[in-house]
């Protein structure tokens, strides 16, 4: 430090309190790695799971404290405005921490059963979560990219950790190659944005775009297009979704849940921060493209989902069509649309985590055929009804959070006078519903009484499923609090 002062270098002031959530997660990751190195025999699955859970809980307590600060003191930013502290970043921090806790619980039974070393898995999960939080909070494109890479690299390894399954390795390679490809797009987009606006800082970019009228905005348009393509890969929006079914199918179910929920949410966080907040003045340029992307994603997701026979692939395409819904909300380019997108992501995350909890418990084989669910309604009625609620919620049936989420997206689109997009969104919801109903029917209507494989059930999985189902119904009946939370979490770009 002293040497640096002599050289005349003064680092930016750092609001450590605001960074505490990520620091806690990284600290927990280090603790787990150290413990496993020093006392490998005593580092049990229980220890790692509890450490991860405790870090998630402590971190969320800090995040709630930060939320109160933002509510009273207003949003701010830190580290030379590279890191935003606003409702938006804390909303996603809490969401990511919920996902982290759920994934830790789901992996508990899974790691034991499959004989995977827990410390590495949990350390990577924690780093991945920290990366996702950085990505959602970043006010600077470079920092956002760092967060994205931290998130993704953890996922690449977690997919491949099941070393006895060749499908897992295949998925990991696929995800890695396409992930690297999309990162390249994103980086090129960042570079062109820098070229067009002279900065990678979102605050600066927004102020610059507000103040300057381009005579020729080709460079900016190209930058926006490349950023959109790069992020579309991450959120699995069509036509950049081709990796999703294969990767979702091959990855271990807890990791699939993590990818489908948190990786997607973080991708949308970046999308919203860049496009809605920083490129706000150019929404006439990007909103129509996002609208087209939303239409393609909705149709492809819904139509492809009903053609699948493998449940994990069905859910992969359903997650594509959910991305389409969020894009419809982004397309509205309004505060209302953004809070609808946030509400959608929050409720969707819990639904999808619960869904993959059930899928994970139903079996680990590489194939995941629909017939495996046959007769679940009779052999495990409570599990079946919980799964039914989660599936119907994804189909957008009322009294579930999925319906309220869809309703807000439609309301945002209608307010924006995008009636066509709203109509297509609702029609594809019906097409998609066919796929969910197929799974429900498979559980309740069986043609022959055959020997059923009983799901391998761990109590931690029950906790996740029960929490997800209760949340889904509770928010479906009394959504007001979460709506207000999402309304307060619209991103605000602020310097200092």
């Amino acid at each position: 430090m002293g040497a640096l002062q002599i050289l005349g270098f003064v680092g930016p002031s750092v609001n450590w309190w605001a960074l505490l959530p990520q620091i806690i997660l990284l600290g927990a990751a280090l603790l787990i790695l150290l413990a496993s190195a020093l006392a490998p025999q005593r580092t049990s699955t229980a220890f790692t799971t509890i450490t991860t859970l405790c870090s998630a809980i402590t971190s969320s307590i800090v995040a709630i404290g930060l939320w109160n600060d933002v509510k009273t003191g207003g949003p701010s930013s830190s580290i030379a405005s590279a890191f935003g502290i606003d409702g938006f970043s804390i909303f996603f921090t809490l969401l990511i921490l919920i996902g982290l806790a759920a994934t830790a619980l789901l992996s508990h039974g899974y790691l034991d059963r499959e004989g995977i070393d827990p410390p590495e898995f949990h350390a990577l999960l924690l780093c991945s979560a920290a990366g996702a939080i950085v990505m959602a909070s970043a006010n600077d494109l470079i920092v956002m990219f760092l967060g994205l890479e931290a998130l993704s690299i953890g996922i690449y390894v977690m997919i491949a950790m099941h070393h006895r399954r060749s499908e897992a390795r295949e998925s990991a390679i696929k995800y890695f190659v396409l992930g690297a490809f999309s990162s390249a797009f994103l980086l090129y987009g960042i570079a062109l944005t820098y070229g067009a606006t002279g900065s990678t800082n979102l605050v600066h970019i927004r102020n610059y775009l507000d103040a300057v009228v381009f005579r020729d905005q080709h460079l900016l348009m190209a930058a926006m297009a490349l950023l959109l393509v790069g992020l579309s890969f991450k959120v699995a929006a069509a036509p950049f979704h081709f990796w999703a079914p294969d990767v979702y199918q091959g990855a271990p179910s807890p990791v699939t849940g993590w990818m489908a929920s948190i990786a997607k949410a973080a991708g949308f966080a970046a999308l919203l921060r860049i496009f809605f907040a920083a490129f706000a003045s150019h929404d006439v340029d990007w909103a129509p493209i996002v609208g087209v992307l939303a239409l393609i994603t909705l149709v492809v997701g819904a139509v492809m989902a009903i053609l699948q026979t493998d449940v994990k692939r069905m859910l992969a395409f359903s997650s594509v069509s959910h991305a389409g819904y969020v894009l419809v909300a982004v397309h509205a380019a309004s505060a209302e649309g953004t809070s609808a997108a946030l509400f959608y992501l929050f409720t969707y995350t819990l639904m999808v985590l619960g869904t993959f909890a059930v899928v994970g418990a139903m079996g680990t084989d590489d194939e995941h055929p629909l017939s495996r669910y046959a007769g679940l309604g009779h052999s495990r009625p409570i599990l079946a009804i919980g799964f039914t609620v989660l599936l119907l919620a994804q189909a957008g049936i009322p009294t579930t959070s999925g319906f309220i989420a869809k309703f807000q997206v439609i309301a945002a689109a209608v307010n924006n006078e995008s009636y066509f997009v709203a109509g297509v969104a609702m029609v594809t919801a019906v097409i998609g519903a066919f796929m969910y109903l197929r799974i429900v029917m498979a559980m309740y209507v069986t043609d022959e009484e055959k020997e059923r494989t009983s799901p391998t059930w761990h109590w931690t999985t029950s906790v996740v499923v029960i929490a997800a189902v209760s949340f889904t119904i509770l928010i479906g009946v009394v959504p007001q609090l979460l709506i207000e939370f999402a309304e307060d979490a619209v991103p605000i770009l602020i310097r200092g």
Partner: protein, 525 residues
């Protein structure tokens, strides 16, 4: 006077909320009952359904006759951020549907044995009752949509869980058809609320939106079409009726009865409450088309019913024909035709509900519904045949029974405004006699086969189950005034609303059906 009544209802017990909550509570209680006592499920469920039925009768008794507006209104804030309220109320149009929903569910619970899994069966039926109450009572578009869609789930589960061989296909088809219809309705609901808001707060309140009439003509027509599509599928009107025969045939008896008696009415009720009331001009604009489709339904349903080999499918197609009558009545826009339409909703619920119950009873005895395999049931089960005859005659529309009153009102009401439609629809009455009498002749007359001779007659319990239907059919056929005098103010109000917001003028038909000196409240509106 009206304000006084309103004040009284506002301060009293929120009976409409209780109507929706009691069955839900019942479903929860049933779910919590121990699995080791399966015999408790249906009785406990029937008790809760009966409490709801008693509450619906209380609403009927307390309903003030000569008032056109909504009564027993109850508004609670639900999702203030989106301007959504829990808003329920009942008027003359919905009153009898609420009573019908209240009474049908306990009867079905008592009457029909599911044979397996009584716990979920009872719970789903109770939830179906709650959802149907909600849909008929909702005065908030969002609340209505929630209820309109949520009733799909219990019915889907009932068909899927307790239906016949092809239930998977039928249940999914039923669900997707209705959901497809309501998909665009949701967009229209949001559009109506948003576009009507202007500078005011956004609201989904049906009464307020109907008063505002803020939409431009074309927008209102598009929104009306989106609403109408949802309801037309639910009614169902030809050519989007194909889900109905499958759903009815594959559904368990309880499902068929509730589907026919209650759920189909959501379509016609929706057309009245949200079609005519919210979009008067668009309704008048679309009336010729919809009335034509209704008449096509009458004739087509009747012809197809004649050709059916399966007794249950025959009754299902007769539903298509009867519902066509109601649609014609609604889009003829006269006091009589609308009254007839509303009354016919109740009549159809009674007669078709009872027919499905009896086809179910026949199936329990003979394990077949194929008309050609049945013969001479009358000699083996004379009482059963007698009950069947009464219900069948009601469905045909024989004078002295309820079907006649409804169909007659629809026909004379429609004659003034839709003359040729009425002429064609009138043939439907003759066709109904053809297919029902022919089926009756083949099943009940003739030489009984050895199997048919063994058919046991009605048990006392079954007789008691059918008795309310028969009583309703005869009572409404002889003395429909108690219904009509409650329906008429609401219907007159609706027509004056139509006249006020469109260039439609109701032709003078002379004296109204119900002559009453105190009848002046409609002038207030």
């Amino acid at each position: 006077m009206i304000q006084l009544v309103a004040a009284q209802t506002a301060s009293s017990f929120p009976v409409l909320n209780a109507l929706i909550i009691v069955p839900i509570a019942g479903a929860l209680v049933v779910v919590l009952l121990p699995n080791s006592r399966p015999e408790l499920m249906r009785p406990v469920g029937a008790i809760f359904a009966s409490i709801a039925a008693a509450l619906s009768l209380y609403v009927m008794a307390q309903f003030s006759i000569h008032e056109a507006g909504f009564q027993f209104q109850s508004i609670q804030s639900w999702i203030p951020s989106l301007g959504i309220n829990w808003h329920v109320g009942v008027d003359g149009i919905s009153l009898w549907l609420v009573v019908l929903t209240g009474l049908i569910t306990p009867i079905v619970l008592i009457a029909v044995d599911p044979h397996h899994d009584p716990k979920p069966y009872t719970a789903w039926l109770l939830l179906l009752q709650a959802g149907s109450f909600g849909a008929f009572l909702a005065l908030d578009l969002f609340l209505f949509f929630v209820m309109f869609e949520i009733v799909l789930v219990p019915m889907y589960m009932l068909i899927g869980g307790w239906g016949y061989d092809d239930r998977r296909y039928a249940a999914t088809k039923f669900f997707l058809y209705t959901m497809a219809g309501s998909a665009l309705m949701l967009v229209a609901i949001v559009s109506v609320a948003t576009l009507s808001a202007g500078n005011q707060d956004i609201t989904f309140n049906v009464v307020e939106l109907a008063q505002r009439q803020a939409l431009s003509t074309n927008t209102a027509r598009l929104c009306f079409l989106a609403f109408a599509l949802a309801f037309v599928i639910k009614v169902p009107i030809v050519p989007v009726h194909t889900w109905l025969p499958d759903a009815h045939t594959q559904a368990p008896t309880a499902g068929s009865v509730v589907l026919a008696a209650v759920m189909l009415k959501l379509g016609t009720y929706g057309l009245l409450r949200f079609g005519l009331y919210l979009f008067p001009e668009a309704s008048v604009w679309a009336a010729p088309t919809l009335a034509t489709l209704g008449v096509i339904g009458v004739v087509y349903g009747a012809i197809v019913a004649t050709m059916q080999k399966d007794l249950k499918r025959l009754v299902a197609y007769s539903s298509v024909a009867h519902m066509g009558f109601i649609v014609l009545g609604i889009f003829a826009f006269t006091t009589q035709s609308l009254e007839g339409g509303v009354l016919q909703m109740i009549n159809h619920g009674l007669s078709t509900g009872a027919l499905f119950l009896m086809v179910g009873m026949l199936y329990e005895r003979r394990k077949t519904r194929a008309i050609e395999e049945l013969s001479g049931i009358q000699s083996a089960a004379p009482v059963f045949a007698g009950f069947f005859t009464v219900v069948m005659l009601s469905s045909i529309g024989v004078p002295g029974l309820n079907g006649f009153v409804g169909e007659f009102l629809v026909l004379i009401g429609s004659y003034e405004t839709r003359r040729w439609w009425t002429v064609i629809a009138a043939t439907g009455v003759i066709l109904a006699a053809l297919y029902l009498l022919w089926a009756y002749q083949r099943v009940f007359h003739g030489e009984p086969t050895p199997d048919d001779e063994q058919t046991p007659d009605l048990t006392l319990k079954e007789g008691l189950v059918l008795a309310p239907f028969i009583a309703g059919i005869v009572f409404l056929g002889l003395y429909p005034k108690p219904l009509l005098e409650r329906i008429e103010p609401a219907v007159d109000d609706l027509i004056s609303h139509l006249e006020q917001h469109s260039d439609y003028v109701q032709p003078d038909l002379g004296a109204p059906v119900v002559v009453d000196e105190n009848h002046g409240s409609e002038d207030d509106h």
